[in-house]
Amino acid sequence: MTNRIVTGARYGLRDWLAQRITAVIMAVYSMIVVFVLLTGKPITYGVWRDLFTQGWMRVATLLFMASLAWHAWVGVRDILMDYIKPTGLRLALEVLVLLTIAAYLGWTIQILWR
């Protein structure tokens, strides 16, 4: 029987693969946003607000934050699994991380669609 340690995680390929796919999504978004900001007009309030009211930018930013949520969850969980040995403390921190990430997502939606 496999003696599995409680990590709050699944074992396997899915998260590993997800971390890489979300990394590519975030990389593409970053390059597009840097390009748009560097080649566009000087950033005044109007330019800034108009950018974030465009549909594609809202959806892309939400996609970026969703990718960040999954990517960061896998990454931070790896860090916690490596350094935090007491199981109870690790689980508590993992729940805290998940709540933080959920709050990021909710806040992002609130900022983008108000």
Partner: protein
């Protein structure tokens, strides 16, 4: 082969040599190791950064007056310095991440190439940080 002969090596306690003093002064991490630990540190930093960055985004989109306040706030030197650290963390995580994607595909895994790409990651992320820092201010 007896069962005991198979099991003995796994049971032997592995040496642990990970106190802080050893980590800082004695273990000489090879360059790709530095890229790895910096990837981890920058990742941890970037996990915490949205608390601050989302607040700034929210304020900057709230109204013209709030936007001007945030622009002034971002010009203060401690804020600038912190933002620059985050810009570097992002650039490093980005460049090192691309290197890891190639390593996952078995590209650049031999020692010479791995060292060369480590230097490239360090150089490119610093260059991008300087460029973006210069562009932002």
């Amino acid at each position: 082969m007896s069962e005991a002969a198979v099991k003995t090596p796994a049971r032997r306690p592995r040496p642990k040599y990970l106190n802080l003093q050893a980590l800082i002064f004695e273990i000489r991490l090879p360059l790709p190791g530095w890229i790895s630990i910096l990837h981890r540190i920058s990742g941890a930093l970037l996990f915490l950064a949205p608390v601050w960055l989302l607040w700034m985004l929210e304020r900057s989109l709230a109204s013209e007056a709030a936007f001007d306040k945030i622009r002034h706030y971002a010009g203060l030197w401690p804020v600038k310095l912190s933002l620059l650290v985050l810009v570097w963390a992002y650039c490093h995580h980005f460049c090192a991440g691309i290197r890891y994607l190639f390593l996952d595909l078995d590209k650049g895994v031999d020692l010479a190439t791995a060292r060369l790409t480590s230097w490239l990651v360090l150089g490119a992320s610093l260059a991008f940080s300087v460029f973006l820092g210069w562009k932002i201010w």
